[in-house]
């Protein structure tokens, strides 16, 4: 069978791109099972010692727990505020609302370093440096646009006469929002909540700027681990995160089909 050079070229190219995308992630897998005490490939045999270390070291566990609860608080705050904002804009739907929407998504447009610098300057004034409140506030700001964008999307096809219908049927403005608009926005709120959690859980630049010793999140601990003690536990943590993500994605895909 004749295979054209053209086809070979593109198939090779495709595989190269996939390798480029996936290999850097997969390289942590063998490292996490290394039997050495530094970052490197296994020498004599495979070992679970670094996983054991992760699950017994209070520093790692605390950092993980901090990231989780901060992420949940951030996701909750951002979901409430972002949803309220999006619903308000949906009700107005005029020029002012459009301007407000653009202003709200600036956290996505501004480079993280610039924004973190701003947080740093501002948080110093407010005395929020190296506090959990400071991190939660900063992350909520960063996560807000993701929530409001997904709620906007959920509301975009909603009939604008619905609030009128509800009110003509006897519902007050608040009852209308609770009974009619929020239920319709629910899928968007759920997506926004997940996004907000991921934004916070994953965030490193801001955390490096506004925390010192008091607040230790998982990304920061990984970053610092790389810097000074080249501990393979990092690879174990990374592998665990990859596995968790894969499981979550698989559940999501299975539920949809």
């Amino acid at each position: 069978m004749h295979v054209s050079a053209f086809k070979i070229f593109f198939q090779t190219g495709a595989w190269l791109v996939i390798a480029f995308l996936v290999l850097p992630i997969l390289v942590v897998l063998p490292i996490s099972f290394t039997d050495t005490s530094y970052i490197g490939l296994p020498k004599e045999g495979l070992s679970l010692q670094h996983y054991a270390n992760y699950f017994t070291d209070p520093d790692w566990l605390n950092a993980t727990w901090t990231s989780v609860w901060v992420g949940l608080v951030v996701a909750t705050c951002a979901s409430v505020l972002g949803t309220a904002f999006a619903i308000g804009c949906w009700f107005l739907s005029d020029r002012a609302a459009m301007v407000a929407r653009w202003i709200l998504i600036t956290p996505i447009l501004v480079p993280p370093v610039v924004q973190s610098l701003g947080f740093y300057r501002f948080w110093v004034k407010l005395g929020l440096i190296d506090t959990h409140v400071g991190v939660i506030l900063a992350h909520t700001l960063l996560a807000l646009p993701y929530v409001s964008i997904s709620v906007f999307a959920a509301l975009s096809n909603l009939d604008r006469n619905l609030p009128r219908a509800a009110r003509s049927l006897g519902a007050s403005v608040m009852q209308t929002v609770w009974a009619v608009v929020v239920p319709a926005a629910r899928p968007g709120i759920a997506t926004g909540f997940i996004f907000a959690f991921i934004v916070s859980f994953d965030e490193i630049v801001g955390v490096l700027f506004i925390t010192v010793r008091n607040v230790q999140t998982l990304p920061k601990m990984i970053w610092e681990g790389i810097q000074d003690n080249i501990d393979p536990t990092i690879a174990a943590v990374a592998t665990l995160l990859i596995v968790l993500t894969l499981i979550a994605t698989a559940i999501g895909v299975l539920r949809r089909t």
């Binding site: 909603l158 009939d159 006469n161 619905l162 009128r164 219908a165 509800a166 009110r167 003509s168 049927l169 006897g170 519902a171 007050s172 009852q175 009974a179 009619v180 239920p183 319709a184 629910r186």
Partner: protein, 356 residues
Amino acid sequence: MNEPILSIKNAVKRYGPVNALDGVNLDVAEGEFLTLLGPSGSGKTTLLSAIAGFIALDEGQLALRSADITGKPPEHRDFGMVFQGYALFPTMTVRENVGFPLKIRKRSASEIEKRVNEALEMVQMSAFADRMPSQLSGGQQQRIALARAMSFDPQILLLDEPLSALDKKLRADLQWELKDLHQKLGVTFIYVTHDQDEALSMSDRIVILKDGAIQQEGDPNTLYDQPRNRFVADFLGKSNFLEAAVVAGSGASFQCETKGAAFTLDTQTPCREGETITLALRPERLRLGLPGEEFVPGTVKQVSYLGERCQVLVTREGGDEFLVSRPTWKTDITPTPGLQVSIGWDADAPVVLAPA
């Protein structure tokens, strides 16, 4: 008229330099089927929104049974409303949608159950109670919207072009149903539409609006037979317009002339000798004859076959055009383009229009 259920006094609504409502006065009788008819931009929807309480009037008052409701929020007016796009709550089942106004009013679960069943029965949708709105067709959704707007016994039912999103056949069916429902329930209906057929077939009374002002109001028959001005004569049905000079006559009978053709005009509208008047002539009141049979000679320009009726466009010397509508069973003349004909009408057929 007894005490009106709804009374609108000098309603004015401005949008920038435009007056969407320009001093509307209207009384609605209890149990009436009133239609607000007009082209887009005529202010009919603005008026309905003001009645519902969605927009605030710049001037004027609204009274419900003599009680002022001008500043009352919509949720306290107790008017049911049906929208063009149905506006069913997408996250609620049909049953929850219809029960919504009752739930808001904190009625007991058993009463809600009973009322919802009655309302669904009324629109013949009982079998669909547990569906979601998205699983229903347009006509079915509009029935549910109707049941929802009626389930709490509203004072007035407001309908904002409820049938215009539906196809023609379904629209005709629902017109009958709406009229039926109105008769059965005796609730006051205020119906907004731009469709003259809808207005003519269902209403007790029609109010024709243009540029935020009432042009004419009355029962369908009166409006059709006695249009007051050119706009009404043209908007409600089709009309031929004709300039004529009053040559002689007094009381209710006049001799008139139009471009050499003389005819008699019987009208209650006072006319003076020597005056030029504008007449409206319904196409179905025009007679078509062979040359010399009638008094206005002309040439057939176009013929349009519509099944039960046939429309013939006739040009008169001097450029005037007449639209003649005649039953297709009439075979005395077979109009074809180019045929020489003549046109005539009964002395009481023309309507004298108010000067524009």
